[in-house]
Symmetry: C2
DNA sequence: CATTTTTATGACTGAGCGGTCGTATTCTAA
DNA sequence: TTAGAATACGACCGCTCAGTCATAAAAATG
């Protein structure tokens, strides 16, 4: 945790330091990020930095907690109007949150992904009341429920499928950004909001259909399944 | 390219240097890898290293070419006996190669993945006669063919699905290793070959079924499709 | 043998890193 | 106004890094 001196700072200065750190970590990941660069860009002295933070890892952890907070707030904001929702509606919502997060906060998403790659275990924050935020765990719960509700094919290996969904979940945002590259200018100047662009919606729907129904025109496994 | 001095070295010394470099790059990726560490572990002088290689990047490129060569050889070895193969048999084979490579050469696979993350464009080697090795491109071709042969559902967005397959392709090996962690000892002492373990085969089959048929018990998209 | 070319060596350079510390400034409060 | 606490500061430390270079050893050549 940052020292209390950091929280005594004016909000603007604190947010400036955080913003500079987010830029640096997003661009260079933990190892490549430089405290010297951060203090230079934030216009503070090296010594001041160490009045605010114990060390580099302390700052990094603080930034990670910002990422978490930001993501949780996005989840809250996107809570669907209807609390009654079928299995795949829920799946769609879960993944949509990840996509939104990546589209709206690409730097934070980059930091999160780097952190995940560095340490794939990472169960962060107090284990007390907060529910698990790890995507794989959430997908496993989802699949278990889905099979109980007869929505998901019973031959599916839950653990494998959870991994499979998580890998899509972690990468789809980047793909959409790349796919929309030709509209990059329009997105940059704000005349197009990538998150609500019809093409984004179409692609997202197509991916969800793909997850639900597979890519085969007449899947053998499905024939076997219905012939029983 | 390494200098000719490097290729004048005895095979054993050359392979020692390459093996040490592979360890270092696999463990620390390009940025974190240290030439000082490599020369120390290989038992050569710093100056000698720079008789062999132009710079760090030169060594790295050489290692990447080893990775490519190794992978291509594995592809050749795994060429299926029957040249006649249906669409999904071919898909299964493509992904199986990736899995095998990751299981048999985890360090090389790690290096390849790091390189991919650093620069997702990376069309390596001479563009002359060699076919594209980038997985996404190969999947796109595969899907195009599949739709032409009426094996793949026509509503599938080819570009999106190619990305989707590539993301699975790049991660499935790591998942299998993690999933087999309880057999780690048996694998390490050679009494179990992870690549041919029945559980590995089952999981792989399950994943392929999932890609073909989706996870839904009765996919809506498929009902729509057949009702037309 | 002598001469020339090739290879091996490790001390060294300059730069950047995370982190420290004595001092200067600013703030707080009596 | 002044004493003391909190904060700001940047030169500096020890270290590691990629890369260089003068020199020495070894190999090849004649």
């Amino acid at each position: 945790m940052p020292k209390k001196t950091f929280f005594n700072l004016s909000v603007s200065k604190r947010e400036l330091i955080e913003a500079v750190a987010i830029d640096e970590f997003a661009a260079n990941s933990y190892r490549g990020a430089s405290i010297s660069q951060i203090v230079a860009k934030a216009g503070i002295a090296k010594g001041s930095f160490y009045q605010y933070f114990v060390d580099k890892r302390d700052l990094y952890n603080h930034i990670l907690s910002i990422v978490q907070t930001c993501k949780i707030e996005m989840v809250k904001d996107m809570t669907p109007p209807s609390s009654v929702m079928d299995t795949f509606g829920y799946l769609r919502w879960m993944i949509q949150v990840a996509v939104m997060f990546e589209l709206k906060h690409p730097k934070l998403a980059k930091i999160e992904q780097d952190a995940f790659l560095e340490n794939p275990l990472a169960n962060e924050s107090e284990p007390g009341e907060q529910e698990a935020t790890d995507a794989t765990v959430r997908f496993r719960d989802f699949l278990t429920q889905g099979i109980m509700h007869d929505d998901i094919a019973p031959w599916v290996d839950i653990d494998m499928a959870a991994f499979f969904l998580a890998s899509v979940y972690h990468q789809i945002g980047q793909y959409l950004i790349a796919r929309m590259a030709d509209k990059a200018n329009a997105i940059a100047n704000g005349s197009v909001d990538i998150a609500f662009d019809p093409l984004t919606q179409d692609l997202f729907d197509n991916l969800m259909d793909l997850v639900e129904a597979g890519i085969a025109r007449e899947p053998q496994i499905r024939k076997d399944y219905y012939s029983k």
